[in-house]
Symmetry: C2
Subunit: 468 residues, 2 copies
């Protein structure tokens, strides 16, 4: 009995010892791995934070090319310049991926006004991307609505032949501005369809911003093939408030609207793809991207000039510190995120056709402001992995992991990769300039852009090293 007891005691002892040893060793290994990773991440941040490359690039892009709407001459120039610039960072390969894209043009700058009490009030507006024109000047009464319910409750008679004015403001009480944007963006995306279904002849949308100013915010809109297309434009918030106030006094007032925009035939354009080939798993891809195209106003500094220079910086920083990825790093600069993500769709189609294995796909398209971390679309297990890695980014204040990635160009990759992730940035400033003439270089802070690029490089390095 005693012998047996001793045997068990020994066994237990051995078991405990081995368990403790395993624990110590594995924890020490984890610690060592963390230390090595910390050093790698520190080196990437050091490179990015001390370099002026991104700032020089963003200045060039905004000052010498500026707005670069899909299908435009400037978009072509941007492709050429971005390819040449990234080539300078000596990737293992760089090539253009052809993609047919829509070519919408604004034409003459749009005008709108109403006359009330004998005086004419001009409205500041921008046609929404893809909107048809008005064929001369259209003049009609206006129906203001602040919700879909309000629109539904109107009879077709009340809407027919009129302009529907969608005047639901972004909710300033929502702490996360981006959520307030998403919650109001349905008016811009679906307003023309809903208004047309009830017989309206045009749609005016309150700009998606918390600012009270004279800058209209353009953006994408949808048409439904089953519903008659009608012109649609965004009013600045000041103009929306003026129109709303005037309608309260004079419900019969008429707005005169002139929009010259039109859709031209699709044109050939390109995604730009650069690679650093993986040393041990070249067939596994980690993509880091941003979009080339912009709207036609402003300089496309924040949306998405910052993302472009950050994505290229990841490659440059890898090369500069001599980091040879185990898996293949692919930088993808997409064409036409703004009006249908044709570049994103093309990339996913070809990746699928070639049966390529994508570990993860990342995009930076949140304005280039102070990074907070990443928004991730992945399984709970994979998300847990990112949360572990995020501890390494916490010293740089980029360790926040949130659900619901927001990279539009990544959506076509759903189901083809283990994780989609978008750089998450502070969103306070974005909707003051988003899709407006105010999206210019002077609104950008180079330090914020650099901190974002550091986070992207660090996350890309971990993905390249460990996979998922």
């Amino acid at each position: 009995m005693k012998k047996l007891f001793n045997f068990f005691k020994k066994q237990t002892y051995f078991f405990l010892l081995s368990a403790v040893t395993t624990l110590i060793v594995s924890s020490a290994t984890a610690q060592m791995r963390n230390n090595v990773d910390s050093v790698m991440i520190r080196a990437l941040y050091d490179e990015v934070l001390q370099s002026e490359e991104m700032d020089v690039n963003l200045r060039y892009l905004t000052a010498h090319i500026g707005a670069r709407m899909t299908g435009s001459e400037q978009a072509k120039q941007a492709v050429d310049w971005l390819k040449a610039t990234m080539s300078g960072y000596r990737p293992d390969s760089i090539y253009l991926q052809p993609v047919m894209v829509p070519h919408w043009v604004r034409g003459e700058r749009e005008t709108a006004s109403f006359t009330t009490g004998g005086s004419t009030v001009k409205l500041d507006l921008l046609a929404l991307g893809g909107s048809i024109g008005t064929s001369g000047t259209l003049t009609a009464q206006v129906v203001e609505v602040k919700s879909w319910t309000e629109l539904s409750s109107l009879s077709d008679e009340q809407v027919r032949g009129r302009i529907v004015f969608f005047n639901r403001a972004m909710n300033a009480r929502e702490a996360e501005t981006f959520k307030a944007y998403l919650a109001a963006a349905d008016q811009r995306a679906q307003g023309a369809i809903a208004a047309s279904k009830k017989g309206a002849i045009a749609a005016l949308i309150r700009s998606l911003t918390l600012a009270k100013d004279d800058y209209p915010h353009t953006g994408a809109m949808s048409y439904d093939t089953a519903v008659k297309k009608i012109p649609a434009a965004a009013l600045s918030t000041n103009s929306a408030d003026k129109l709303s106030a005037a309608l309260k006094k004079d419900t019969a007032l008429k707005v005169s609207l002139r929009i010259s925009s039109r859709q031209l035939p699709d044109v050939l354009s390109y995604n730009i793809i650069a690679e650093l080939k993986g040393a041990s798993h070249p067939e596994e891809f980690i993509t880091v991207g941003a979009h080339i195209d912009t709207w036609d106003v402003g300089e496309g500094a924040s949306d998405d000039g910052t993302g472009l220079v950050q994505a290229m910086e990841v490659l440059r920083a890898f090369k500069a510190i001599g980091l040879k990825p185990a898996r293949t790093l692919r930088v993808i600069l997409y064409m036409n995120e703004e009006a249908g993500a044709h570049g994103g769709v093309k990339y996913a189609e070809q990746a699928s056709a070639r049966n390529e294995y994508h570990v993860a796909a990342m995009e930076s398209d949140a304005g280039g402001f102070t990074p907070r971390g990443f928004r991730i679309e992945a399984s709970p297990e994979v998300t847990a992995k990112f949360r572990e890695w995020a501890l390494l980014l916490a010293p740089y204040k980029a360790g926040d992991i949130q659900p619901q990635q927001r990279g539009v160009d990544l959506i076509p990759m759903r189901g083809m990769t283990k994780a989609l992730l978008s750089l998450d940035c502070d969103d306070s400033r974005l909707f003051y300039i988003h899709h407006t003439a105010l999206d210019t270089y002077d609104k950008i802070n180079p330090r914020e852009v650099a901190m974002g690029a550091g986070a992207m490089a660090a996350m890309a390095a971990l993905l390249c090293k460990y996979g998922l």
Copy 2:
């Protein structure tokens, strides 16, 4: 035996039951308290995020008063306007607290240049606050140093009769920009003393910024009564780089420097103090503050116009939602933070003389950018309390609690209160504009200011409700 056992069983059962009940009840109470507090905080944020009051105030302050250096006519105007504005929010009392303050004037705008290879290069500079003038133009050779060690290693002979040029750059690798600032600010604060000790006749300091531009950053400097005063000025980083490059080619080059600044006699000025009297503990004070004075360039928008409108907003929001604090809320707008914290010292002296009990003192003076939470100077127990409260601020992304509060006006309150706390803001943008002509309204984002005011109001409300 069985009886005894049953007795114990009963007792145990009773004990367990009572423990569990206590746990449930106390946790339910805590939960209820949290819910009530959440609702209070939501109401404060709702008020602040939907109001245009702060933006209107900041526009007025920057456009109609602008820079308001201690002792200046504009500082007087600011006192009058701030008192009138805050009176409009109907505090229970509002009064001016007299304080004698220094009156330094820049005089004619300073000039500096050097001639090398036949051409003259102008330098962009600003005298540091408190610097003496040069009595005409001073021309001397320059000794460049990048560290205190480097200065120490020079013989007095090498320094005597020369200008010491402190050219240590802020460390871009430091993830937290504010830390990089603090680590480089010793040159500005102590440079003139250290240089004079070795016989230098002037000091030039590289501006404290990560930007590479033509804007010099002024700021406070010290003299030592035991050491001869010499003039000191900050060079823009571009000018510092030019001078450094030129010195490498021509070590004997001479800089001509002209500074007209001088110290006038002290003048009478004021702190502004407004109160909402505590309903149940009126003798316990929670202070919320910011500073009125600025440097003489720019508009004092970020430093500390944002803090002023935020501190006043706390009072306005309390009144607007009908929040009657249990303890007394005191809003203090301090005079002369920038050059000696005379207002802060005066406030602490009088609070001490009156034997007032201060629960906590808060200041907003970190630029008015996106808030992250609070920096707190308190015992570990009190800090733990703040960490618990911070959970209520996390939904507003203001739940980060860090050590080392940074409100200069609060330092005189050390030891007189349980906690000093400063609003902690994202620091990426601050040192691009800090103490320069660039500190203007257009650099400020109203949403960021509002999010900061929400956090301050929420924290002040918790402090007023619970004390410490």
